[in-house]
């Protein structure tokens, strides 16, 4: 504990952590600029970029038309000619509009030029259900994005993680997407971050809670639900180890496998329709690489294969929650 105290910490919100990350990187590197829908006057709809226009001016904070193809396509042109764009597309679900630019221009240009270009593009935007925003403003697209070969994916669950991951993403010479969860913003999640500058390496998982009976891999909001379930299960004598991969690409397989070696059981909690989800990919990797360590089937706690409903009680049912996780854990522990 004495070691920890040597680092001066402060408590900030998840939202503020996003602001600080972008602000610090823009101050550090003049080639970094931010563009997207409504980033200037609003600083984005929830205000994560508030103040940046006043500080950095119109050359580095640019409002774009409501045309996601333009945001991403322009970012590619800027990134191949010496700049480091942050392309904000407001809601990551809007990636559907510009999937060609993502899958082709962003992800394949380096390969198809035989490595002649770097693609330092950081894509950001809200993800996640829980705000009754319905089927076009709520989805996490991580499973689909994992298939976008050449794209790194950060999945931040805390203020500490979102700040450190965004800073690393901006410094990365490869494209990185950092969806941040709308519920964690809207509910004002707070957490400690160091006063001093820090970054989090892409590809390093974080064990959010140590345990011995079942390994739970979770991302974004689901990390918090897994931690809540862990509290409840502890009282029943079941110990969960909660692993936050922090990036899905690259995936820190070693930390997950080491945990499964200890627990022998794996549940993956992912706020996506189960088919084609990131949970499915992690399950497949673990089935191939850690089969001998498992003494129960891998479980996926995901959403049903439906669009996200608007009505609050339906949306609540749609989202994976503690009770579903507890049920899955109980099944493999009985």
């Amino acid at each position: 504990m004495s070691l920890l105290k040597e680092v001066e910490m402060k408590e900030i919100t998840y939202l503020k952590a996003i602001t600080e990350a972008v602000d610090e990187e823009m101050a550090r590197d003049p080639t970094v600029f931010l563009m997207g829908e409504d980033v200037r006057a609003w600083g984005a709809p929830f205000g994560e970029f508030k103040g940046l226009f006043d500080k950095y001016g119109p050359k580095r904070v640019l409002d774009t038309p409501i045309d996601e193809r333009v945001i991403i396509g322009v970012a590619v042109g800027a990134a191949t000619t010496g700049l480091r764009p942050i392309a904000n597309i407001m809601f990551t679900e809007f990636l559907c509009v510009c999937m060609s630019e993502i899958l082709n221009a962003v992800c394949k240009t380096r390969y198809m030029t035989g490595g002649k270009v770097k693609m330092p593009v950081t894509i950001m935007g809200y993800c996640g259900a829980g705000q009754s925003a319905a089927g076009e403003h709520s989805s996490c697209l991580d499973g689909a994005l994992m298939r976008a070969t050449g794209l790194k994916i950060a999945v931040p669950s805390t203020p500490y993680d979102v700040k450190g991951l965004i800073k690393s993403a901006i410094r990365e010479d490869n494209p990185v997407i950092v969806p941040y969860h709308l519920n964690l913003i809207a509910n004002g999640l707070k957490g400690e971050v160091p006063e001093k500058e820090y970054t989090i390496p892409l590809g390093k998982a974080d064990i959010k809670r140590e345990g011995s009976d079942v390994t739970v891999v979770a991302t974004y909001l689901m990390v918090h639900r897994a931690l809540a379930a862990a509290d409840k299960l502890q009282k029943k004598g079941i110990s969960l180890e909660v692993i936050d991969p922090r990036t899905l690409v690259p995936l820190d397989k070693k930390t997950i496998i080491d945990s499964v070696r200890k627990t022998g059981k794996l549940v993956i909690m992912d706020e996506e329709p189960i088919t084609g989800s990131a949970a499915g990919e992690i399950a497949a990797i673990m089935a191939e690489e850690a089969f001998d360590l498992l003494d129960a089937p891998i479980k996926r706690v995901c959403a049903p294969d439906t669009p996200i409903p608007c009505s609050p009680p339906l949306e609540k049912l749609w989202m994976p929650d503690e009770e579903e996780l507890i049920k899955a854990v109980t099944e493999i522990c009985s």
Binding site: P65, G77, R110
Partner: protein, 319 residues
């Protein structure tokens, strides 16, 4: 517009090299030496040569699936382009991009798309980059009349106008989007009307007249370089070959290709240069022979080059 003799000869040499290069690519493809989907651009030579003559080496271009000639004109090495077409390790993209993505950022050609329209957005991005970095570089975006109907080109024209970016959009109008006639894909009779809708000045030129292309592009580039924003140029031309090698072109009206060849930009420019006293017939012939020699060397280089090593399939995904 007075044009230096060296520049006139450079344009002619570039057009001839482009023509003979694509002629040879067609033959090598037919012989089974070049893999993939090949789209040739005989008939379009004046557009690339005229435009590139108006650019500096540090200016950027983006192009499309029918654009071996644009990279040749921008300074790409013929042997590296041929090797790329052969899928060889010595290709300008190590054999990983091929014909439809013929690009080389080393000479300022930053992207060729095969999902059309996308590269125009990259051109706008490079132009934004030039503006933000405070350079006076200009970007030329080449695309076809087919791509003009995509949302990507709409987005690029709109943002270039909104942000007054230093881009020159050159629409190579050969009236065919693959096998679909322009008369079936847009109600417009003048493509320049599209640009006026974005508040972009536009002009139509005879894309088979290299001097007209050069003159109009030069003005547009000079304007963009001074911060005057984008220009749209419709270069009317004619596709002498099929959409892709192997396409029988049953959809093209009888006589259209013969008409096309009558408007061929190369003999036309040659005649003019001889009349102007810039070249003698003998000197013009020599340029053709030199082009053929260069291409022969390029084919030899490509044929003798090794394929990429097996491990190359996994490299260059990430930096």
């Amino acid at each position: 517009m007075a044009v230096a003799k060296e520049k006139l000869i450079w344009m002619y040499r570039t057009m001839v090299l482009h023509r003979e290069f694509d002629e040879r690519v067609g033959k090598e493809f037919a012989a089974g030496n070049i893999p993939g989907f090949i789209h040739l651009s005989q008939g379009h030579e004046a557009i690339g040569a005229g435009a590139m003559a108006a650019l500096r080496a540090d200016d950027y271009i983006t192009a499309h699936h029918r654009a071996h000639g644009h990279l040749l004109a921008k300074g790409g090495k013929p042997e590296e382009i041929m090797a790329e077409l052969y899928g060889k390790a010595t290709g300008c993209m190590k054999g990983k991009g091929g014909s439809q993505h013929m690009t080389n950022p080393d000479v300022g050609h930053i992207g060729s798309d095969a999902l059309l329209g996308t590269s125009s957005l990259q051109a706008a991005g490079a132009a934004l980059s030039a503006k933000l970095r405070g350079t006076d570089q200009v970007v030329v975006a080449f695309f076809g009349d087919g791509a003009l109907n995509t949302g990507a080109v709409h987005g690029a024209l709109n943002i270039a106008a909104a942000w007054q970016l230093p881009v020159v959009f050159i629409c190579e109008n050969n009236k065919w989007a693959e096998s679909t006639s322009i008369y079936d894909s847009t109600h417009l009779t003048k493509l320049t009307d599209r640009a006026f809708g974005y508040g972009i000045p536009a002009v139509a030129v005879d894309g088979n007249d290299v001097l007209e292309v050069y003159e109009v592009v030069s003005k547009a580039v000079a304007k963009a370089r001074k911060g005057g924003g984008p220009t749209f140029i419709e270069a009317k031309t004619c596709r002498q070959h099929a959409h892709y090698e192997g396409d029988t072109q049953s959809y093209r009206p009888k006589g259209e290709i013969d008409e096309c060849r009558k408007r061929d930009p190369i003999p036309r420019f040659r005649k003019k240069l001889v009349e102007m006293g810039v070249l003698t017939e003998k000197e013009a012939d020599k340029i053709h022979q030199e082009a053929l020699k260069t291409i022969e060397k390029a084919v030899k280089f490509a044929a003798e080059s090794p394929f990429p090593k097996p491990e190359e399939v996994l490299t260059d995904v990430l930096a």
